[in-house]
Amino acid sequence: MSQVFSPRFALVLRIATVFVLAGIVAAAVVYRVNARGDAPQDDPIEQPIPFSHQHHVRDDGIDCRYCHTSVETSAFAGIPPLATCMTCHAELFNDAPVLAPLREAYAGGKALEWNRVHDLPGFVYFDHSIHIAKGVGCSTCHGAIDRMPLTRRVASLYMQWCLDCHRNPEAVLRPRDQVFNVEWQPPRDQKQRGAQLRQEYGLRSTRELTDCSTCHR
């Protein structure tokens, strides 16, 4: 390959490179702040219907599993089919304008498109069923869902956040009957109880829980 640049031009190019690099760093910062693909943490996400977990969970006392049917058996907790909504809303608020998109979709019109609040990258394989089976409660990751008029994400979902728990699951393990209790708070002796539960549930070793292959494949 012949020499591409003259020495003088090379100097100009070097200076330009510094500016370009600085520009790239700035662009990366701007991109990082503004262009995250998933929903922002702690901000309520706008939805086609302003569905309130607070109302359905706290006021009506509906169990999580009434709608999220596959949370105990599948990786995906499940989004309820419209028929589930209509079991009540065929009668209740059946002419409320706010529920118009639901009625339209149920009648075969435009499909209802919820905005995903918890969106993991494609190379991460989270499984709800095993977490439920091993005593990790809903509110451990999803927060006080019964106090959310609009659903928001309370966890960063960064790998660091996953690993905090996988390295030290004792801090969050609950008795099985408390898993769906959204008001559960760790008792003062959680560390002890957690260790006991870890034994009882037969959790895998910390090494196994932090293996790459546990979540990535």
Partner: protein, 1004 residues
Amino acid sequence: MPPPVTEASGSLAMRARQRFWRSLSEAEGIPDATLPRPIDTRFAPNRRDFMKLMGASIALAGVSGCSHGSLEKIVPYRAGPAEQTYGKPVFYASVLPRDGYGVGVLVETNMGRPTKIEGNPSHPASLGATGVIEQAAVLELWDPDRSQTVKHGGTIATWNDFLAALQAQFDARAGTKGTGLRILTETIASPSLHAQIQSVLERFPRAKWHQWQPLNDDNLHDAAEMVYGRRLDTVCRFDRARIVVAFDGDFLDDAPASIRCALDFATRRHAHAAADARSRLYAFECTPTLTGAAADHRLPIQAADVGAAIAQLARALGATTVDVANVLPDAWIAAIVADLRANRGASIVVAGRRQPPHVHALAHVVNAHLGNVGNTIVHVPPAADDPTNQLASLRDLVEAMNGGAIDALLILGANPVYTAPADLAFASALAKVPFKVHHGLYVDETADRCDWHVPAAHPLECFGDLRAFDGTLALQQPGIAPLYDGKSAHELLAALAGDTTRGNRELVEAYWQRERASDFAAFNDRALREGIVDGSTPEPINVALRGDLAAVLAKATPSQPPRAADDIEIVFVADPRIGDGRHANNAWLQELPKPLSQLAWDNAALIAPALARRYGMENEDIVEIRVGGRRIEVAAWLMPGVPERSITLALGFGRTRAGHVGNGHGVDAYAIRTSDAPWFAGGVAITRTGRKHALACAQTHHAMEGRDIVRTFTLGEAQACTPDECGTPRYRNERTLYETPPTGPYAWAMSIDLSSCIGCGACTIACQAENNIPVVGKAEMRNGREMHWIRVDRYYEGDIADARALFQPVPCMQCEHAPCEVVCPVEASVHDAQGINVQVYNRCVGTRFCSNNCPYKVRRFNFFQYTDDVPGLDSQRNPEVTVRMRGVMEKCNYCLQRITNAKIAADVEGRRLRDGEVVTACQAACPARAIVFGDLADAQSEVNRRKSSPLDYALLAELNTRPRTTYLARVTNPSPALAQSTQQSRRREAPPAGAVDTRPRADR
């Protein structure tokens, strides 16, 4: 450097090592054109171009940086399907056609998308295994090249337009009772479809039904008629046969029953099979096939001599008096006759479907003579409806078309413009028909010449029913609604019979409602759930040989015409991957190297090295082949094991209207195939053109020359084996510089039995479908960049003239001391506690150091963004497996997703995984049950049992990588008498290199 072979691999292994070679270049010391060449990546722009490129890339990088990701949407069902658990796959039992006959499958659907095919354990043609064709069916389903609309004269039309045109035809010909109406189908083995054809023929009594597919059973059915006076199917039970003699009969790969045959055959071939249960296979064949490779004794003979060969055996057994020239060596005949006589009722003599009827007739006679009928050979009523002679049927049709007697022709599924014998000139005859309708998956060569084209629904989109090779019936159900509004053959035939209102499902159900009026609901439910119709396997029929058989046979057996000493024959075979060409647009099948030639993306004239030498030809030389006044030009490929005066050419290539993938690959062999010699023809002239055609061959990409790679022992040697002598201890050396790998409750491992592996490649395609493995194309393949996570290597043993092929599937070895791990600068290649060497895609930066340091060359690198080239295909992907991007290394991980999901399910129930609960994709597909996967920590596991065999050995054990995947050495069962005499004769009679053996065949 460790010594290449240590004392532990012992004398037998040492001796074995000497006999192997891998390609002709290795055996003969000539340079091989397909050795990986340096890839031309020179890039020398001038300053202007450089600035332009840099400017453009920075600008583009800026643009792409601005794109905001949008929130992902979740669209709920209106009312979820009852059987669906969100996030879990649903399996539907169905049946897929293989040359027209059914193979039972389970269709895995993920949120309504068919993504993977598994075999149906209760279906007789599958027993849980699948072949490459079934595995690749999902890719065909999602193929964006499939025909998507009704077409009229090449322009888009609607189904209603077509129905109106059809009605206009009926009106114009009212009262003619269908004179001039013809229907052309392929083999039909479907009761409901056959009933519909009958109802069309009832409405139009003067209409006629023709059948044609190039891979048909004409020869088998004609032979049955010759021997038993009726057309019937013969089912071979290889699990009951101790001696098998195959006359150009590739039952392991080239038959509708192949998967079952391979399964049955393997039961007596496993490395651990008891010595007195082991079978012995003699194969006489022209083209090297999987059956020949599996044989204990294989003798290459010309296709035209097969008839004389089987007659010679029959005569030696005293089964017939048909007198033709001897072609087989006496020692062979003596050994086979002794074996057959010692195993009366437990042997099979089988001929291939490309051999003429009298060869099959002689096989019937021999089997009857040996008392095999009723034991290893079962006769059943034909599975096909109306098993007529298809060549005669097609010839009738062409004559009628040429005579102007046909007003309307409906072609269902067939592609005769491409597949009809060249001398029939189907295309020009077709042009004389005023109203022509084509129904098919693609707008193919035939559709192009028809007035109307109706897109067919894929078998994964239809209801229906199909009989298997043995007559067992199974119902077909869709995994998804037709993607492109395709119509099933049922709907088209119903329209012809005047019923345009009912859909595919109603038509099929209506048929079964009539047939099973008393219990339809229970019947339908059960048949769809189980994947077969209970009790539908027909009873074997007892048939007696015809009284005048001797006379018929004598008449049918041609006395061998004197041939010129250097008369060369051409043999047409179905391509082992794309069949008769119908799968030409399937990139998985195109890129899967053919088992013996290891070529992909092309066909080639397979010629013996001796013939090549005579004509001064090398690999990739384009040669002109002239036969019977027709000619083609095709690249030559030197192939050990081909008789010297024989050229093999695979059908199915040279398509012009297959689609973006299949067009223009290879050469159309149908152009020189005539109806009087559909499978082999003599009088071939070949000349070199002086030009070359580049072929993509996987053969030398991963050469591991001069090492102890495939081990093979005779039964006697294997019985005398101790682990020190035959196998290799997996832990060669306890001292090591590597870190001790972590341990956990499970220790996954694999064992591959080279004794039962037949080399079919089903594992490769199953892995491709399961693990979202991309296709790279011919050009990239020539650069050695294919992506298969499990490849099937092929080695040769013995002399070039009658080389024995050996297969070895090679996935990642999951080394406990993995050389790839220590060189990764970003820890993307690491061990987990279950012993899997995992590749962490999101860490990988693409240095490729790991691949460089891998002694097995099983790591695959995404040199380009292969995965999003074709928009429609993302629906096929397995949601359980990450789709890799450009610049990332990947490799086999023991189907980690299957392990993890099974482990989670067991953990939820609070129990340990049971042996056999995790089945890898390759293991599930394997028709020979060669692959076993399991837990080393479970002392009772099958994988532990296999690894305790003295035949267990690790690949390149001297490197002390401690692979978790090990092999069982291949055990052959040669005839003691023949082994001695052939070795002697080989030594005595092997022609010197460069010389041409001109002695008469019988003397060799």
